[in-house]
Symmetry: none
């Protein structure tokens, strides 16, 4: 049972973004490993009852980011070389979100402990446990 995605058409985040995020997570969690084949554009589109172009776009962007690779005529596969981001790159991507969170928290007069506690809870939700 490879890749069970759940799409909500009513959401404000576009479908192709939902696909991208879910596939990235599936790969990250190791439920699909390097070399595994993804469902074909058409089959996934049919299963999720969405436009094949939308799936194609998600696959395309994932390929551009090096998460998956296309093999002409065969389909898309999880990339063999795992994407390695530099520490700096990863921090740079996280920074604005961290900034937004803390700035809003400060404005709302949350204490440092409140924010930290809320973060722990949300991390657990995402399966990220402290060591």
């Amino acid at each position: 049972m490879p890749l069970d995605c759940r799409i909500s058409t009513g959401s404000t985040t576009p479908i192709y973004r939902q696909l991208i995020d879910q596939i990235r997570l599936v790969v990250l969690r190791g439920r699909l490993t390097p070399g595994d084949r993804l469902p074909s554009v058409r089959s996934l589109a049919q299963r999720l009852v969405i436009n094949p172009n939308t799936v194609a776009r998600a696959y395309g962007e994932l390929a551009r980011d090096g998460v998956i690779e296309s093999q002409q005529g065969k389909g898309y596969f999880v990339a063999t070389k795992r994407q390695v981001y530099t520490r700096a790159h990863r921090r740079r991507r996280l920074a604005p979100l961290l900034e937004a969170l803390v700035s809003e928290a400060a404005l709302l007069d949350f204490s440092a402990d409140d924010v930290t506690a809320a973060l722990q809870e949300k991390l657990r939700e995402y399966g990220l446990e402290p060591s």
Copy 2:
């Protein structure tokens, strides 16, 4: 030395948003206190070499949020009554930012400890110390 703002026109975050964030912080830090007058729309625009409409938009949104107040023909002033929010309201406003942070952190394969450490650092930057 009233309200030294720094605007980067090259940034992806729009100018009016940069203004809003900086003014919110200045008020939060107490460098401008209730009743203090802000620079006039036109003078600030001239100083930052941006369009007065852009400043007006930032001021307008801050006023809608209750951070500052306008007095016709006199200018903008830091709001006298500080906004009071309910616990539920505050959590509801923080939630999407927390969600965005952790979801991106998971995608980037950060450990729970990494995120927590980064949060602590940013909290300190904002003057929020753990008790």
Copy 3:
């Protein structure tokens, strides 16, 4: 003790407006009756510690509206002919405020009973009792 006004300089409503409203009310309530003399511009300004121009402006607008009358060299007096507004005029002035109230109440999902009850309370605050 004629005309005890209370001015709040911190308020967002300009001082001259506060003066106008308070004097209108005092006349309306009959605490100053037609022919009564108002404090001189300079004495009232001194008492309230505000700019004489502000008092002059308030008096001027009240005179323009026919609430008070100036007698050259003698001072300002409550108008002898009481302003008579037509029913239509008065309703026209109240209408937009009524519209604003009910429209916001509807948006906030208040019941008709809630709004009516809140109105009764506020009317009592202003000394307007139902017959």
Copy 4:
């Protein structure tokens, strides 16, 4: 027949405010339901013969208030989750409008009964019947 708005350019209330009020009402009355698409900024501007920026401003403020939501590249849609306010919050938002109404009514020498009757009428106009 989607969203018939009527704009009066002669009115003292700004166009963008008229738009906001009318759209709020249309949503409230259920003539547009959650998920429904609003006319595009440019098409509505063209239809009403006003500047697109004016429509954009109205849409933008409605979005900030959570009445509608924007989906990049797709358009504006009636918000799916209806805003939930606390009792205290709702009363706080209604208070200044109530104050304005009663204060003006007192100034115009309306009786408590007059104001109450006028309120009942307007409430009925908005479909709010007393229980």
